[in-house]
């Protein structure tokens, strides 16, 4: 096993309603890199992300973290707490924006003073400090996504999973995401990102994996990737059109 592989997948199969939706022999997430997963609708991108982030544990095959086989039960809580996910359509819990951002820290029994300090700092970086006392259920789509990004980053995750974070956002929010996202991610962080956004891929990707009908079509460094050959699976971002 290579040293720079933080997660490795071996012979993973995911069956949903008696249909094989994911069939991957080998796949790796590279440490401290932006690992992009692309592909058309129904190609299995989100299913793969759910398995890698330990959200979905109902699959066949094996998953390795730093060469160690990952258990599929409550024992992996410690490992799960090193990961964070930003969803396409984020779910925010009843309560204020502050409560939502602070929640992952509360679950880890972090001291309240540290929580307050970290939440305020994170909210400031995402320009939502004025929303902290507001109910999360009254936010706009962009504000919700910013809150969910803050919630995902508040724990300084070792691996950050991003599932089409900008798909449901308006133009302004996409611009904010694209211009701020790289700054929000630390150098120690590994990112696994599912995206259709060609600009995001061009600007951020180190490694790119193309999925087709649940199988890996190709996986390689971005330098050798030819967008022209895979145009159908990668959308032109709205921001690029204006």
């Amino acid at each position: 096993m290579q040293a720079d592989k933080i997660i490795e997948v071996r012979n993973i199969k995911k069956i949903c309603s008696e249909k094989l939706i994911l069939d991957i022999n080998q796949f790796a997430v590279f440490k401290n890199k932006f690992n992009f997963i692309i592909g058309g609708n129904g190609s299995g991108k989100t299913s793969l992300l759910n398995i890698l982030s330990l959200i979905d544990q109902d699959y066949q095959g094996e998953l390795y973290y730093r060469g160690q086989k990952i258990n599929r039960d409550e024992q992996n809580l410690k490992l799960r707490r090193k990961f964070s996910v930003i969803w396409q359509d984020p779910y925010l819990y009843r309560g204020s924006v502050f409560y939502n951002i602070a929640l992952p820290l509360k679950l880890r029994d972090i001291n309240q003073n540290i929580i307050v300090r970290k939440v305020k700092a994170m909210a400031s970086r995402l320009e939502i400090e004025n929303l902290l006392e507001q109910s999360a259920h009254t936010l706009s789509g962009g504000e919700k996504q910013k809150t969910s990004i803050a919630r995902a980053l508040i724990t300084d995750p070792e691996i950050l999973f991003v599932d089409e974070a900008t798909t449901n956002l308006d133009e302004e929010s996409i611009r904010f995401f694209n211009s701020h996202f790289a700054d929000l991610v630390t150098e120690e962080m590994t990112v696994v990102m599912v995206s259709h956004d060609r600009r995001q891929i061009k600007e951020l990707a180190d490694q790119i994996t193309l999925l087709k009908a649940g199988e890996i079509e190709l996986t390689q460094k971005i330098d050798n990737f030819k967008f022209e050959n895979f145009g159908a699976g990668i959308a032109v971002p709205v921001a690029e059109l204006v």
């Binding site: 409550e74 996910v85 779910y91 819990y93 009843r94 679950l107 259920h137 009254t138 995902a152």
Partner: protein
């Protein structure tokens, strides 16, 4: 007409003057109803989550049984529990018949299916993303359970209040298992039945007004919790 006006006036007088007998009946009723609702809730909340969130072979069957038990007549529960706690019953030695505990057992059996089914429906209707998000932010199994309860709290409180309303207004179980003993097992409904038969119409009417007011309060709180004006922003 004077008969009605007179009865209503005397009933109101009994309420306003905090008549000791009225207070005793209402207190007994509330003590028994609150106890049975609390016990039933402790059983129903985890049971509902278990049914709603887990896949198991007998799930469909359990749901059918649960739905059937929603329309359980109080007298059927009364007969069933009577057979268990009467002198010749399997629990006869515990001497629970004609005690508040006897009524509580019956009422718990009556409302466990109701509260469970209502909470099950609340959990069913919750966004699947809630569970995925809880996992993604590092919640343990217990913390996920806690988060789920917190998210469903208004629905759960509504279900518990509905259960409380059901036991507060039932008469079959209280009469059969409680025996209508003054100061011990005499509840609002059993007292109303007895006092009407005895001709103390104003006293029964006073209890009726209190019961109706409590029912209104229960429905008001339930409505406010589930569909209040700030519901969307909660």
């Amino acid at each position: 007409m004077d008969y009605y006006t007179d009865a209503i006036l005397r009933a109101l007088q009994l309420i306003v003057s905090l008549d000791s007998e009225v207070i005793q009946v209402v207190t007994t009723s509330l003590k028994i109803s609150i106890s049975s609702t609390l016990i039933a809730s402790v059983i129903s909340i985890p049971l509902a989550i278990l049914i709603a969130r887990n896949k198991f072979k007998t799930k469909k069957f359990i749901n059918i049984i649960l739905n059937t038990m929603l329309s359980l007549p109080t007298v059927v529960v009364g007969i069933f529990v009577y057979s268990l706690i009467s002198r010749r019953g399997v629990l006869g030695e515990l001497e629970l018949l004609f005690t508040p505990a006897g009524i509580i057992i019956g009422q718990v059996i009556l409302i466990v299916p109701l509260i469970t089914a209502l909470i099950r429906n609340v959990i069913f209707s919750m966004d699947e993303k809630l569970y995925k998000t809880a996992t993604s932010i590092g919640a343990s199994r217990y913390q996920k359970f806690k988060l789920l309860i917190l998210e469903a709290r208004y629905g759960i409180i509504g279900a518990v209040i509905a259960g409380f309303g059901r036991v507060l207004g039932e008469i079959g179980i209280s009469m059969m298992l409680g025996g209508n003993i003054k100061g011990v097992t005499r509840t609002i409904t059993t007292a109303m039945s007895l006092e009407t038969n005895k001709g103390r119409f104003a006293f029964a009417l006073a209890l009726g007004i209190i019961l109706l007011s409590l029912s209104f309060l229960i429905n008001f709180v339930t409505y406010f919790l589930q569909e209040g004006k700030n519901y969307a922003s909660r």
